[in-house]
Symmetry: C2
Subunit: 189 residues, 2 copies
């Protein structure tokens, strides 16, 4: 759990008292492989800080197949902010790709914490800025590069990742079919 405090401290300053308050408000949770933190149509009740493991956020598209829009890894928060904050049913599933550990920040507790510790509201503003920029960057990759180029870019950026998660998930995240990914790999081996 100290990893969370360390992460927050990278963005804002916390007093020792702040740290204790935060730690007392946050739950530690182990998550089994394939377990869900959130399912479609449910209202999201917490923001999750990933201490260890990998999550995928996906939805079911018009044709009925799973589309991954986001991977959550160590030291990132994962949630559906839209559902969490506006108390509306989520369009997304959040599922553990492998065994994981998370710090759970319940939405009601979050509101209280923001009042007690304004620095925390600032921290989340900064985190969201980062997430928003990353999302823009992602749109750039989709527009600028072909599927093959995106795959090479991804595999250079996160080589260990490719070993840990099934290929069909990578294909879904990068926006093409598993068959096409197979073809790309066949070319270069």
């Amino acid at each position: 759990m100290q990893r969370l405090i360390a992460h927050i401290s990278k963005f804002v300053e916390l007093t020792e008292e702040d740290k204790e308050i935060i730690l007392s408000c946050i739950q530690y949770q182990e998550v089994k492989k394939k377990e869900y933190l959130l399912r479609q149509d449910a209202i999201c009740n917490a923001n999750y800080f990933i201490l260890k493991g990998v999550f995928r956020k996906y939805y079911i598209d018009e044709k009925g197949s799973e589309q991954i829009i986001h991977f959550g890894i160590d030291n990132w928060w994962i949630t559906d902010y839209d559902s969490l904050d506006r108390r509306i049913p989520s369009q997304y599933f959040i599922q553990a790709v492998e065994r994981a550990e998370v710090a759970v920040l319940d939405w009601r507790v979050q509101e209280e914490l923001f009042v007690k510790i304004p620095a925390l509201e600032r921290y989340f503003r900064l985190i969201l800025q980062r997430a928003y920029a990353a999302s823009m960057q992602r749109i750039r990759y989709i527009y600028d590069f072909s599927g093959e180029e995106r795959y090479y870019h991804f595999s250079n950026l996160y080589p260990e990742f490719l070993q840990r998660i099934p290929q069909y998930m990578v294909a879904s995240y990068l926006g093409f079919t598993p068959e096409f990914l197979s073809k790309i790999r066949a070319k270069k081996i």
Copy 2:
């Protein structure tokens, strides 16, 4: 400028004093057609609330052509948060598509305001949440729908918009060539 106060008040509560402080810290600015609020490689110095008009945020891709990543319209903020906050050169251009009016919030003033009015930091956290969700939604559209479907969706959602901005900008925003857009339009007329 009252439109800005009204917008903030939709998300957080402001006292009369807060409102005065905000108004005293914000500059009104008219922007001519094709004028830039930000250019690539410059460090972004302000967040702009669009009172009236349309802006496009774009970058130059590998092949040297302009790629529009975002349209800013009435009642939205437009800036490069990454450059603004981290004081790094921007990758983007922000340009007025038509004559516009904006409220300018300088980054240094913003920091001061957050200290004086914590509700404002909350407001921006909520705004960013909304922008992030919209960006996710955009990725969904790109993945789920064909170019033609995206065009019809866009033209149903913002019919007046199509009249106001050149087609090649719409094509760029939707992620295909102007030639292809021409073909789509030819089909249905």
